[in-house]
């Protein structure tokens, strides 16, 4: 056991002391916010610098009064549409809008002429201007004024409450559960894949550098494999812990800084200043209560339990696949050669990943979700995906038990292949050969 500890130490220290570890550990949490920041910045700049598009209008219905907006300058023309089209061709204007006489109950026949394909956004903007105008016309026709209409508009949020068997009531929020499940599931998927491949790389390095023969004259191959798997797991755990701390520190910092200037809030504040009426206040109050509700339901989740289960499946999934990656590494002599064996290993992982999107997040209590979260090969991803929505304890225990059994099983299989594989060089390895190694007596 003392020797496994030495191996774990070496695997951990050599990786953690690398410059690349330091760089990725610090950069990754910075990269995503940075990319998002840059994109947001560019979008904002573009929106600011964008000039209003000039739209020529031929309004034969006479029902429209176009007001210039930030995005569009309207130029009414009193020409026939054919002449207007000819004239439009000579200009550099964005579009020519043609509105024939129409029935407000059946507004048809409007055409937009452009020189190049316009973006959906621009067309949509024009459409909504026209729709608004037609609605106003209709309101006039029905003799309803705008104020009445406004008071008719209501917004409702269903407050979700789960009643447990004990009669306890808990608020819940499907949105939060969705995003939580998604994030945790993806994290596990990434962790297993990234660090599984690191294990494989480590084994291949030991085999090709021939050090392995010296090592296995001091320790059992199984100890070496286990030490490597655990050592790399601790590197991963450290890295993820640092990431979580950095990301949460950064995002709370960033939110704190930009928080006051968030667009909706800003707009709302302006509106409040301008229109100090009851309705708006009501709307804002409603908005506020929704935000507090999200936080409320987030804190109502059994966060401690979720964290424990996440770490459990995180490690369980990693150990289950890690051993298999080690076995593949032992059988081959280069990363390229490993491809053919990698695919069958990553396949169940992929099934878990797609299952997360297709079943687990949509319907956490469906039978597909159930099976995905019970079978050890997919349960690490599927179970954390549905854990927030409440999984019965007996299901959870069954899944955890099967996962433990699963990784003991894969480690056993992998160990048998590994002990032979690491000493074999120059053999052409196929599935048949692997099977032979597995059955070889020691």
């Amino acid at each position: 056991m003392n020797k496994i500890w030495l191996i774990i130490q070496r695997e951990f220290l050599t990786r953690v002391q690398k410059k690349s570890f330091l760089i990725t550990t610090i950069l990754v949490p910075l990269i995503f916010p940075a990319i998002i920041g840059v994109l947001v910045y560019i979008m904002k700049k573009e929106a600011e610098s964008a000039k209003a598009d000039t739209v020529q209008v031929v309004d034969e219905s006479g029902k429209f009064i176009f007001e210039n907006t930030k995005r569009y300058n309207f130029v009414p023309l009193s020409l026939s549409i054919d002449k207007a089209k000819d004239a439009y061709k000579q200009t550099k204007d964005f579009a020519l809008l043609y509105i024939p006489p129409f029935d407000i109950n059946k507004p048809e026949g409007m055409i937009i002429y452009t020189k190049e394909n316009p973006s959906i956004e621009k067309v949509g903007g024009l459409e909504s201007i026209i729709q608004d105008r037609i609605r106003d016309l209709k309101l006039e026709a029905y003799k309803i004024d705008k104020e009445t209409l406004k008071s008719l508009k209501v917004s409702v949020n269903l407050k979700q409450i789960n009643i447990s068997e004990t009669g306890e009531e808990k608020t819940s929020n499907a949105g939060i559960l969705f995003w939580l499940g998604l994030a945790l599931g993806i994290l596990i998927y990434m962790f297993v894949l990234i660090y599984g491949i690191q294990i494989m790389q480590g084994v291949i390095d030991e085999k090709t550098s021939k050090i392995v023969e010296v090592i296995v004259s001091s320790v059992k191959p199984f100890q070496l494999m286990l030490g490597k798997v655990i050592g790399i797991a601790s590197v991963g755990l450290l890295q993820f812990t640092i990431w979580i701390i950095l990301i949460s520190a950064l995002s709370s910092g960033v939110l704190g800084y930009f928080g006051l200037k968030m667009p909706q809030q800003q707009a709302m504040e302006e509106v409040t200043k301008q229109l100090d009426n009851e309705e708006v206040k009501l709307a804002i109050d409603q908005q506020k209560s929704k935000t507090t509700e999200i936080f409320h339901s987030l804190f109502q989740l059994p966060l401690g339990k979720i964290a424990f289960i996440f770490v459990f499946y995180f490690l369980g999934g990693y150990l289950l696949y890690g051993a298999l990656f080690a076995a593949v590494g032992s059988a081959v002599e280069s990363m390229q050669e490993s491809q053919q064996f990698q695919f069958p290993i990553t396949l169940p992982l992929l099934i878990g990943y797609f299952g997360l999107f297709m079943f687990v997040l949509r319907d956490p209590h469906g039978s597909a979700s159930f099976w995905l979260s019970i079978i050890p090969f997919t349960s690490p991803i599927a179970m954390v995906g549905r854990i927030g929505s409440g999984v019965p304890d007996q299901e959870l225990l069954l899944s955890m038990f099967l996962l433990i059994a699963g990784f003991i099983f894969t480690t056993w299989i992998a160990g048998r292949i590994y002990r032979v594989g690491i000493l074999m060089t120059g053999t052409k390895v196929s599935w048949k050969v692997l099977a032979k190694w597995f059955f070889m007596k020691s």
Binding site: K3, L6, I7, R10, T14, K18, D205, E206, S209, K210, I211, V212, E213, V214, I215, V216, S217, S218, V219, L423, T425, K436, M440, S442
Partner: protein, 314 residues
């Protein structure tokens, strides 16, 4: 006390028998040459001794005890295919390997310092292995093999990759280790090494041991009653029923060198007696077979059982 006794060790792989009923006795504090052509089964035997693989049948005793996991701490193994962690520093690497062999960190530190000094490479501690030349890495590997002061040291082709100067250095260290009470097993095809260093030898061919014993005794066993004589003048004839001239070369002018095979039962003194009457003898010596002669002869003959028997009888 015997450092190692192998009794009827057999190892079968799916395709072939790697070791067929091999028995060996390796006396303590000797240098034992384990000889044999490539693929004969030497590495398999060494791996079994190192408990990297298990034998199918047979038994290994190390200093009288049945092979058990704790024995790895008294065995030092230098595999033919050398390897170290390329990205690790020399010092850390030696520390790690020594600790795997059961040394405490403190002891390992102290001994590494002594050995680095012995090889005059004290300033290598912080060098990465990938920055070392092949010969330099070999030195580090040799140190890692003997750091835990193993009582049994197994060296598989220890001189490959060394220049003559370093080979000499390693030879000195090996003899020093023997002086200090270690038993050394050499696996090699280099006959000059065997000739100069080994006390005992065993020859393995086609998974079977075909020869074993003290080097001197083996040579004795294969002597062919052949003599090398330098003499003046070659105008003489020897009775053909007693002597056979194998070869004769002129050294200069009238001086010749002759290889002479005498019939069984004719001793050196008799040969001299017969010669001095007919020629002027300058030098006289019995031509003993070299290990290379024995090795090549036996391995070649191994395909032909009759010939081998003949050779063994001779």
């Amino acid at each position: 006390m015997e450092a190692l006794i192998a009794k009827n060790v057999t190892k079968v792989y799916a395709e072939h028998k790697a070791l067929d009923n091999v028995s060996l006795t390796i006396p303590e504090k000797t240098i034992f040459g384990l000889l044999g052509p490539n693929g004969a089964g030497k590495t398999t035997l060494i791996r079994i001794i190192n408990q990297i693989i298990n034998s199918d049948s047979g038994e290994i005793l190390i200093f009288g005890e049945k092979l058990k996991p704790s024995h790895i701490e008294i065995i030092g193994y230098l595999p033919e295919e050398r390897g170290l962690y390329k990205k690790m520093k020399v010092g850390e690497q030696l520390l790690y390997l020594a600790q795997l062999k059961g040394l405490s960190r403190k002891d390992a530190m102290a001994r590494i310092k002594i050995w680095l000094e012995k090889f005059e490479i004290k300033d290598w501690w912080h060098k990465k292995v990938e920055d070392l030349s092949k010969g330099m890495a070999q030195k580090v590997q040799f140190i890692s093999t003997v750091l835990h002061e193993p009582k049994l040291i197994i060296l598989d082709e220890p001189f490959s990759g060394f220049d003559p100067v370093n080979a000499q250095l390693i030879t000195e260290k090996i003899l020093e280790l023997k002086e200090n009470g270690s038993t050394i097993i050499f696996s090699t095809h280099r006959m000059e090494t065997v000739e100069s260093l080994c006390d005992h030898i065993a020859l393995i061919n086609k998974s079977k041991k075909i020869l074993e014993g003290p080097k001197k005794q083996v040579k004795e066993q294969y002597r062919s009653n052949t003599f090398l004589i330098e003499h003046r003048g070659n105008h003489f004839t020897l009775p053909s029923e007693k002597y056979e001239v194998k070869s004769q070369t002129r050294i200069e002018d009238d001086l010749f060198s002759t290889t002479l095979k005498a019939a069984d039962g004719i001793k050196g003194n008799q040969v001299i007696k017969d010669l001095i009457d007919i020629t002027e003898v300058y030098s006289f010596q019995e031509k003993l077979p070299t290990m290379a002669d024995i090795f090549i002869g036996l391995v070649k003959a191994d395909g032909d059982d009759a010939l081998r028997k003949h050779l063994q009888e001779v």
